[in-house]
Amino acid sequence: MAVLSEALAKAQPCPAHYPVPRAVVGAEAWKQAAQGFAEGRMTLLGLWGERDAAHMAVRDTEEGSIAVLSLLCPNGRFPSVGAVHPPAVRLERTMRDLYGLIADGAKDTRPWLDHGKWPHSRAEARAPYDFLPAEGENLHHIVVGPVHAGIIEPGNFRFTAGGETIVRLEERLGYVHKGIEGLMAGADLKRGAQLAGRTSGDSTVAYAFAFARAAEAALGCEVPPRAVWLRALMAELERLANHFGDIGAICNDAAFALMHAHTGVLRELVLRTCDAAFGHRLMRDSIVPGGVAHDLDDRGVAAIRALLAEARRRFPPLVKLYDDTASLQDRTVGTGRLSLELAQQYGAGGFVGRASGRNFDARRDLVYAPYDQLHFTVPIRNDGDVNARVWIRIHEVEQSLGLIEQILDRLPAGPITVPLPIGSDACEGLALVEGFRGDVLVWLHLNREGTIARCHLRDPSWFQWPLLEAAIEGNIVADFPLCNKSFNCSYSGHDL
């Protein structure tokens, strides 16, 4: 019997949690679950806190089933998961910063998102941050950020290098903490959807999609088929735009501006098409709980079809250019290798995991409408380097083009929204949506009157940022931008 079902059988189930079960477990079962992560039998999908409870979203690796395990911690303490399973460390530090929950037995208790600048910051957070030591002869520190020379998001990277070779990289994030989870508390669903869509600007569709699905699951609301298909259309357009941008940006970091220029044109075409079809270049606030905010008219369909034709015409020569430019291949092949073991341990989603052989895609493995009716393959590579991450993106672009075509061909007619059945009982919902970076998790707890009691948004970057630290080890300092761009983790989504 699989670990997760075993744990659930012994636990006390919570009513009104959809579509997967949630159960309150005891401290022992909580520790066993942590052990399950460490042994690789379960994957940690998320770990978050409330005032007096800790929750974890868990996926059984064998069965593929998902559940939420909760531990009541009235005294504000819970047994640390991070002590045996490193991917949980930063999540636990965040729980301490945001909800004051203390992980018992955790080795790393430094603050994470709290930089000592909030009115209610802890005393430890106000002290200078304690970076990890690295000792050895001829080692030196290189500190980059949080303010960078280019216009990118802020993050602090501390390298310890021996000459050009990186011995250790330590990240420090949290500079763009916006307090989204705090703002969510007490908000209504409309405002909640807007907040979710502003968690990470480049994944606004994925976040709004996940939030809407979580809300609809909690309320037991059935969305009209046309809205479901339009959501997938937007999600694929977003993936397309971001992947085009990323492929060019990675090449640009190897000073190959030509690729950047061409993919920049493609990305701009996608964004303009989105503007024409849905009234917003990034399709922000286009997905709302209960449906979608904009219908797609014939002109929009024509615009998207024109985009498909244009992308199919322009993209293959670019792929060939990437593949044929020896100087570029020399930079990307073998750089920033990430092992399958680490990708699996961290449950790395998106191109980061798939380039290292982790065969997981929320659209296929945690299937949600309309992807159950669409044909696509999930590209996998095993080399785990920058080149592999570029190729995964290239293949995903091809898949997305096919998906968009299928959606346009089979787009059902009908209404695009339904009113939400608010005002029943308190309820909870969980949703995972495959954004362009990987699986975005939203957990939502609604009050009786339909306002948000607690909403947790987990960006895929939570499980990718730490892997960047691992992938860069042994590489040279000058290759960091290339590796970083190939991961392209979100600062905003991570810092919330």
């Binding site: 020379a149 280019g150 501006a257 030509l258 100087s327 930079r331 040279i476 300092v477 931008p481």
Partner: protein
């Protein structure tokens, strides 16, 4: 009277390189922008940037020593003098008899020495990285340059640039394997020395990958303007060097009249434009190398230079 005339011509040459240098940088940027489907900034933008920097106040790090303040002037002065020694549009300029090609290399080397010192002076990690990378590149580029010079000197019988150019312009030169090798070596050295792709990226904003830019990160105001102008001059110098040795057509002679000088100047501007566009095309078509590949790249130049010299010893016909 002849001396005054020579002085005027030399003065005209020195002003011309100073005026044209930012224009060449602007041209390369413009060409690269057009090649990547952008409109690009105006050709005059580098001039505007320099004026803007000259007007701005200098922000100095608290722990900057006198060296940090003096270095920009030294770098600019040595580079300018080096540029004055190159027969850009006329051979036999007044200063050209006072120093030869080896002196040009030495002048540029001392400019680099001060720049590398200044990069480390403030003690930031980027400055240190930039200086260490620059010196690594230089330790290979300078020998490569010297062997190239030896090849040319063996072919032309002199290290004096005016003599080399006069020889290259004469029918005696013919086709020579050594010269071909020297041309390639010189181009590679020029790319490495001027921090162009694939060795360095002059347009990057990524602190960790910078070489030249990393050393000058701490500079501002007029200091930065001088350094920028010096690096523009250096680019111009190398393009001029390649042009005057391997494409010496249109160069005015030692005692040429005003019309010949004007023709020479016109041909020179044309050559610069061609060189700038070719550089832009090359830079667009190639990605930057991994830092540790650079020694191999410049090593090719060193080997070509050596081979050229050796071949010359084997037989005069190479």
């Amino acid at each position: 009277m002849a001396l005054i005339r020579d002085l005027i011509v030399q003065f005209f040459e020195m002003s011309l390189v100073l005026v044209l240098a930012p224009g060449l940088v602007g041209l390369v940027r413009k060409a690269k922008a057009r090649l990547t489907r952008r409109r690009g900034a105006s050709l005059l933008q580098p001039y505007r940037d320099l004026l803007r920097l000259l007007r701005k106040e200098v922000v100095l790090a608290e722990n900057a020593s006198w060296l940090f303040r003096v270095a920009p002037y030294l770098i600019f002065a040595t580079t300018w003098v080096a540029a004055a020694l190159v027969p850009t549009f006329a051979t036999g300029l007044l200063f050209s008899w006072s120093a030869d090609l080896i002196a040009v290399i030495a002048l540029l080397a001392s400019a680099r020495f001060f720049l590398a010192l200044a990069g480390m002076d403030v003690g930031t990690s980027f400055g240190g990285i930039g200086s260490s990378r620059e010196v690594m590149i230089a330790s290979l580029a300078e020998p490569a340059m010297l062997t190239t010079v030896f090849t040319l000197a063996l072919v032309a019988g002199s290290t004096q640039l005016s003599t080399i150019v006069a020889f290259m312009n004469s029918p005696a030169v013919g086709l020579s394997v050594s010269l071909g090798l020297a041309l390639f070596a010189l181009i590679i050295v020029a790319i490495a020395e001027n921090a162009r792709i694939p060795v360095d990226n002059p347009a990057t904003h990524l602190e960790l990958t910078m070489v030249h830019e990393a050393m000058v990160l701490e500079y501002s105001g007029r200091h930065l303007a001088l350094i920028e102008l010096a690096s523009a001059l250096k680019l111009l110098l190398y393009v001029s060097l390649i042009a005057c040795i391997f494409a010496p057509w249109g160069l005015a002679g030692a005692q040429a009249d005003a019309i010949a000088l004007l023709i020479g100047a016109g041909a020179y501007v044309g050559k610069l434009a061609v060189g700038g566009v070719l550089l832009a095309v090359f830079e667009t078509a190639i990605a930057k190398m991994r830092v540790f590949r650079v020694p191999q790249f410049i090593g090719v130049a060193l080997m070509l230079g050596l081979l050229g010299t050796l071949l010359r010893f084997v037989s005069r016909s190479f």
